[in-house]
């Protein structure tokens, strides 16, 4: 269980949205992490794909800077290693099949009023909530 943190949630969220707007207005691209990573993995040769690598590298750099200021980055993981592997495979495969994740569909797509993104976001939110309910309250892991 974690405490409700409205101020840091709003500040962090605003930064995420600002970053997405910046990428759209400067690079003409949607800030969908799964799509950017998926296409980066195709290893497009030359300059055309280099922005993807730079954007992706920026994510841990930004988080790391916050971690330094705050004196640590909390990553409280309750899933076991085998579960993390299965979850990672599903997240990787699913986001590519469904063309987006929390950022591409949830933030960027919904901001455009995209029906596809609204349908995808409702689907993954509801599915995840059911899975959390089963894991925490039916199977009884913490």
């Amino acid at each position: 269980m974690t405490e409700f943190s409205p101020v840091s949630a709003l500040i962090g969220g605003a930064l995420i949205g600002t970053a997405a707007s910046l990428l759209l207005l400067a690079n003409g691209r949607i800030a969908g992490i799964s799509g950017i990573l998926g296409r980066a993995l195709a290893f497009e040769p030359g300059e055309r794909g280099s922005w993807r690598i730079l954007f992706l590298l920026g994510l841990p750099v930004g988080a790391g800077l916050v971690g330094i200021v705050r004196g640590g980055l909390v990553t409280d993981i309750s899933a076991s290693i085998p579960t993390l592997i299965v979850a990672g495979l599903l997240v990787g495969f699913g986001t590519r099949l469904g063309n987006g994740c929390t950022s591409g569909h949830g933030v960027c797509g919904m901001a455009r009023g995209s029906r596809r993104s609204i349908a995808a976001t409702c689907t993954f939110m509801a599915t995840a909530a059911v899975v959390v309910f089963v894991v925490r309250h039916v199977l009884g892991s913490p």
Binding site: A14, L15, G17, T18, L22, L24, G62, F93, A120, F124
Partner: protein, 141 residues
């Protein structure tokens, strides 16, 4: 210059994820757990991100090109199909199991912990696997 902006956008995005604690799977799972002590933080993160992103989109909509004169590349918004919903469902299962989605997982590698890297590696394998299967499928049809 465009590369520098992409890097800056990544840094801001990662910082936003860390400030809002979305890099902490337990925080995310506490949002998805409606029957426990519900933590609505993620909804505010998403709301604020949506507001700022919508602002950027409104500016982009009234322009024919980016600040650097390149075309603006927007994916289609219509056409809900099985592929979209199946993908979102599989993603939802993985997200609910681990509490990590792609952005926060990549950002959380900064913590330097092995379980985060294991998740990220599995996610990359999942993406490569999809690419292989999709290539075979589209070759057949």
């Amino acid at each position: 210059m465009k590369s520098a902006v992409a890097a800056l956008a990544g840094i801001l995005f990662g910082a936003g994820l860390a400030i809002s604690q979305m890099t902490n799977p337990n925080k995310v799972l506490s949002f998805l757990d409606f029957s426990g002590g519900w933590d609505p933080s993620l909804a505010l993160v998403m709301g604020a991100a949506l507001a700022m992103s919508a602002l950027g989109y409104q500016i982009a909509r009234h322009r024919s090109a980016t600040f650097f004169g390149d075309p603006i590349d927007l994916p289609p918004t219509a056409g809900i199909d099985v592929r979209l919903l199946a993908g979102a469902t599989l993603f939802g299962v993985g997200w609910g199991l681990a509490g990590f989605c792609p952005g926060p997982a990549l950002a959380a590698t900064a913590a330097g912990r092995l379980p985060v890297w294991i998740f990220v590696c599995a996610m990359v394998v999942g993406m490569i696997l999809f690419r292989r299967i999709d290539a075979v499928r589209s070759h057949r049809s």
